[in-house]
Symmetry: C2
Subunit: 230 residues, 2 copies
DNA sequence: GGAGAAGTGGAGCTGTCTTTCCGTTTCGAG
DNA sequence: CTCGAAACGGAAAGACAGCTCCACTTCTCC
């Protein structure tokens, strides 16, 4: 307040005067964690993050004593991106196109980043920064939803959380590279969300093959469960 | 090949002359595994199955040397039940009602039994008995699907595997006791699958609350990830 | 009711993942 | 250049699940 705003504040807060090498490593760790969390989800071992970052595990633990710190640091801006995208969709002159755009994008964003999907759906991963970020998404989606409902295009009995749940659920289908497959179900969902229609929107992609079923649940582990291997 | 068909054959095969206590334990283990796999999925520890069955782990491993043996023994008849249900649905005089019935039931059956969901979707859990069982489902669903398509009620561009994937996906929503929630999305799916409709089928249940998002992905573990606890 | 095969249970081995600790290295102020 | 503090890395301790092994118990057949 008065004269003493101690420089220590800066250390505890954001603008930490970390030693140059420490700051460099911090960035390397964040970059590595972004990649590893996206691929493997938030359970990923600190070992792997350290290896990808090219630092020792000890360094990761010193900088981010618990996983929540790392999650907070990483996903705050990703959540900002989600909010921005919802708001952009809500600004689309065509309310229905805006909704379609957001659902399509949301499914892919979560499919491409398993960590994001976990942060958005499972409570209790990050700390306060994540909680605050999440709280900003739902109202934004609510705007998008009610606009499409007012226009008489989106059925009146869905809520913004229905959209969130459906979007998160569809993101679980297929691997990161199977956008084609997921978009079939996005299309079905959107056709189901429309108030009425005469004819189905054509499903994109090609019909799934037997192996496409497999990417839903966690696969059998290398243990006794005998992964048939082919 | 000639004269000696050792009585051991019987032991290795099906009609095993197990000792009375061993046969009793075998049944206890199967019952326990059915319950544990349904709740926790097929990764569940043999420890827990043993504890529920009231036997030692060693006993479980002796009787079912690998997880696939246990899965085979348990899920063959559950798959038969799925096939039976598809065939019953295909016999419904109303092709659309049959499809709705099967999707609704299939989602709940898989939601109530995580093990079943894994057996049906992830390849490589059981052994040959499971593989053979799975192979019987798809053709049966194909009948159901093409009947509804021929009647002009189901959109022509979905395949039976689309139905299987969508069904399995929706079963991941909510806990075992949230059939009300899942049926909202089943309704949306069916509305999306219809060739055309004028008005949306009303969504059952009540709109989800924030906490309902959480049951999609595996929750944070008790480790450093700081499950915010509330 | 006795002998021996069959079956049992759970202690403990193994491999995996998380976290801590401390001897060494690197930085940067003087 | 020198020195102290900060940071480093990775070995190893701890926690834990999957699986094995064998001293002991229980059954069955005679």
């Amino acid at each position: 307040m008065s004269s003493v705003t101690p420089p220590l504040d800066a250390v505890v807060d954001e603008g930490r005067p970390l030693r140059r090498d420490a700051e460099r490593n911090r960035r390397l760790i964040l970059a590595a964690a972004r990649q590893v969390f996206a691929q493997r989800g938030l359970h990923a071992g600190f070992d792997e993050i350290a290896r990808v970052a090219g630092v020792g595990v000890g360094t990761v633990y010193r900088r981010f004593p618990d996983r929540g710190d790392l999650v907070d640091a990483l996903f705050e801006e990703e959540i900002d991106a989600v909010v921005a995208r919802v708001e952009a969709a809500a600004a689309d002159p065509d309310p229905w196109a805006g909704l379609c755009d957001f659902v399509t994008w949301g499914v892919e964003a979560q499919a491409a980043d398993r960590g994001l999907s976990q942060v958005l759906t499972a409570g209790g991963y990050g700390h306060d920064r994540i909680a605050r970020g999440r709280a900003r998404i739902e109202p934004a989606v609510a705007v998008l939803v009610s606009r499409a409902q007012s226009a008489g295009l989106l059925r009146a009995d869905v809520s913004s959380l229905d959209i969130a749940i459906a979007t998160a659920t569809l993101s679980q289908i297929g691997g990161p590279d199977r956008a084609d497959l997921r978009q079939r179900y996005v299309t079905l969902l959107l056709d189901g969300l429309a108030v009425s229609r005469d004819t189905p929107s054509p499903l994109p992609g090609v019909p799934p093959v037997d192996a496409d079923l497999a990417c839903l649940v966690e696969p059998a582990r290398r243990g006794g469960s005998g992964p048939a291997e082919g």
